[in-house]
Each structure stands twice: as C-alpha cells, then as structure tokens.
C-alpha cells in the first residue's frame, strides 16, 4: 500500500474553489434586480428550453448559473422541499430564507466532503405582496450565502456586470426600465443582446397566490422596446 501524499487543507480548498470558479466562468451570467413591479431576473441564455430561471413556490423563484445538470438538480430538490413543506405545514410556512439556508448547507457540505465541488452559483428570490418586500439570496459553490438588498449578479463576470448595473440602477425602475438596465449590464459596451439570447422572468408583487411570471421572448422584446 502506498502512502498518500500530504496536501495542506488550504491547498485543497483553494484547488476546489478554483475548479468550481472555472466551471462557473464557462457559462453566461445572470442578474436579478428589484424594480417597482417586483423582482426581474434575466439571464443570457440562447436556449429557450433549457432554463436557468424557474418557479420554486408561490412567491419564490430560483435561478442558477454554471453546470446545467447540477443546478437543475438543486432546483428540483428545492421544488420538492417546498411542496412537501407546504403540504405538511401550510403554504405560508414556505420561505426563501429557510430554503437558502438548506441550499447553503448542501453546497457547503459537498464543497468540503466530496471530491468535486458543484460548479454552480444559485439565487433564491422571494417577493411579498407589497412593493419593497423582497429578498434576494445569492449562494456560492462553497455554501457562502449573501443577502442582497437591490440587485445581484451570478456568473463568471459578476464583478464587471455588477459595476455596470450599479451605474444604471435606481430604486424607482419599472420592469421595462430594469430590463433595459440589466440587458445593457449583461452585454457590456461591445455587445447588444437581443430577445433571442435572453431568458427572463418576473416575480411580481401581487395578492394572487402565484407570483412567478415567465417572460417569453415576445414579452422580452416588448419590454426592451419600451425601456
């Protein structure tokens, strides 16, 4: 039997983080912005069937970037968790904070205990009935949770995009204006993204039970034209 080499824990963690970050950086980015209508989530995604943004529960949305099969597995697990919790307790008892914590636990555990970390960054967003009542949880590949106030960006170029978003963001953006700001931030100075390269959804402030509205491409085009 051969003796395993000693590798410093710092080195192990650094290697895993680099590996995860590299995987995430291969995909396109995604941004979520609070606007007067709710939370707008918009991703650069040429596919209209393999989705990055989806509904978890009545007022909760999920978005992921990185490796598709990994964040999709997390998405389905989240839907299952929320539906089971709503069934055995009450629909009101399902909330984004608890779900975000669960995701963080799982990502953290996989990051430290498994050979390969998940190459994903995810977003859990929730809206209330009244404007201003929203929550954005941004969770990293290692289980780090960030509670964002107004907007957040997921993906490899997050910092550059967030900087551009910061410049365009105001607290009274309408959905159409927010769409314009997000799309300009995602594209940067040299790229003009059109509806065919985008995927978007809106979590609206409403007194209806389900707040998630998927924006199909014609609706995205309309918002972009109006903003």
């Amino acid at each position: 039997m051969s003796m395993p080499f000693y590798v410093a824990p710092e080195q192990v963690m650094k290697d895993r983080a680099d590996y995860a970050r590299k995987g995430i950086a291969r995909g396109r980015s995604l941004a979520a912005v609070a606007c007067t209508d709710g939370i707008l989530i918009c991703a650069e995604n040429p596919s209209s069937t393999l989705r990055k943004i989806s509904e978890i529960y009545d007022r909760i949305a999920f978005a992921g970037v990185g490796k598709y099969n990994e964040f999709d597995q997390l998405r389905i697990a989240g839907v299952r968790h929320a539906d089971l919790k709503g069934y055995s307790f009450s629909r009101e008892d399902v909330d984004a904070r608890s779900l975000a914590n669960q995701y963080a636990q799982i990502l953290g555990q996989i990051f430290t205990h498994e050979m390969k970390p998940l190459e994903v960054e995810i977003l859990v967003a929730e809206v209330g009935e009244e404007p201003g009542a929203h929550q954005l949880f941004h969770i990293l590949y290692d289980g780090t949770v960030m509670d964002e106030a107004h907007f957040t960006v997921l993906g490899g170029e997050a910092e550059a995009i967030a900087e551009r978003l910061e410049q365009g963001w105001r607290d009274d953006l309408s959905a159409a204006e927010a769409m314009g700001v997000v799309v300009r931030a995602l594209g940067g100075d040299d790229r003009q993204l059109g509806p065919d390269e985008l995927e978007a959804a809106l979590l609206v402030y409403t007194d209806e039970r389900r707040a998630f509205r998927r924006l199909e491409r014609p609706a995205i085009a309309e918002l972009l034209g109006g903003g």
């Binding site: 989705r51 989806s54 697990a77 839907v79 299952r80 968790h81 539906d83 089971l84 069934y87 055995s88």
Partner: protein, 285 residues
Amino acid sequence: MTIPFFRAEDDPGPDFIELARRSGLRPLALDGLEHATVQGRPEITHGTTVVAIRHADGVVMAGDRRATAGNLIAHRAIEKVFPADHHSGVAIAGAAGPAMEMVKLFQLQLEHYEKVEGHAISLEGKANQLGQMVRSHLPAAMQGMAVVPLFAGYDLRRRAGRLFQYDVTGGRYEESNFAATGSGSLHASTVIKLGFREGLARGEAVDLAISALFEAADEDSATGGPDAVRGIYPVIAVITADGFARLGDDEIAERFAGLLESMAERNAVRRRVPETSTDLGEDGA
C-alpha cells in the same frame, strides 16, 4: 425538514404522491383506514350534489354548500368546487374529509408536475391522474368513505371544454355534454338534460346549473338550497381559455332571483298549501 435528494436511478420524477410516500408522509386519501370497521363506524361528514355543464366557451362547474352527517347538517357553507390548476377544476361528492384531502393532493400533484417538468400535464393526463387517485382510495370507499369527483377543464389542444365523471373504482368516463354526481345528482341531471342544447352561452349554462341545483335541493334533503338569510350561495366556476374563474356571490344571488321570478311568472309554485290535516273543522263533530 431537509432538502430531499435521490439517486438518479431511484428518482420519483414529477410525482408528488410518490415523493410524499418516500418522505414518510402517508396521504390519507390514498390509504384505507386499516382499523376502521363497518360496524360501529361514527357518522362521517358527506358532501352532495355537484354538476358540470359544457358550453360554447368551455365548462361551468357548480356545487351546493351543504355537508351532512347522517340526518344532521354538519356544515352550511362547505365548498365542493375547486380549481385544479389554471385551466381545470374539480368538484367533489362523498365523504368530505378524504375528498378535501384528495383535492389538495390532486392540486399539488398538478402544480408539482408543472414546476418540475416546466410545463403542465395535458387535460387527458390530469383526468387519468385523478382516476388513479380515486382508485387507490377504493379500500376506504369500501369502508363507507367513498369519494366521487367530477373533473372538467378547458383543453388547450382541442380548444374545447371537456368533462369527466368517476366511479369509486377509479373508472373514468368522459361525458360529452354534462355530468352530475352526489345524492341529488339524479334530479340535477334531469334538469340539465332537459335544458341542454349545443352551444349554450356562458350565462345560459350558469342559469341551467343554478336551476339544476335548486331542483336537487328541493327534492334531496342532503343538498342545500340558496340561503338568502345567511347569504350562502352555491359555488359556481366557469373555465374557459382564459382559465378558471369563480363567480361572485352577487351575480349568483341575482341569477337565483331571476330563477324565482321566472318560476313565479309561469305560476310554477302555487301559493296555496295542500291540505294534509285530519282536522274536520268546527262542525265536523
């Protein structure tokens, strides 16, 4: 509660009921009550007459508000017509407890599938799902807790309203024009049968449902009529391409008033009360 993860070869897919079972929950509607016996069973709450009628733009579903436990009225304002999802509805008759649980599970099943898969089940698929749920409830039905639902919806692929009736074994029967179930269904369906024609307008179908429920309540003690004193009216919903919409109580009250008016006009209800007394009067002695 922890987030459920499954191995790829062991994944329950978009099936909520299977997921609930795997997570250690036992949905009542799908299990017989092992220890309940037919003898000495306490009276359980029952719901009664519900109807569904196809019309030009989709379907109308309606149900009275009474729940009974034996000879007693258990509840005056119970609801028996529910949205199943955006484009379909489910109405229940039979043992109220398991029926409500079944509706809740059915709603969850449809929504769970939609979220996991990214699109809704076809109307046909939804009808089959409900049939399977009724069938797995059969052991409880044999113990006297039958649940017999109606399912109706707007089929987006065929662009028409469709309706389905069930029996306790889970048998699923599509009806072409109307369906009724529950203790007053015999009277209700006769009324609908006489008033039905192809291409009824939405309002006409609602009126027909209202008079069917009125006649059922008139003949069947377990079916509740309109209760103007408490302001309790049947639950009526219209399902069209725009989705499931429940009618307001104001509209239903108005339509009931219209029904009573037309009955008075054709003198259908005579004011004179029939004499059933054996009293021979003052000079009868």
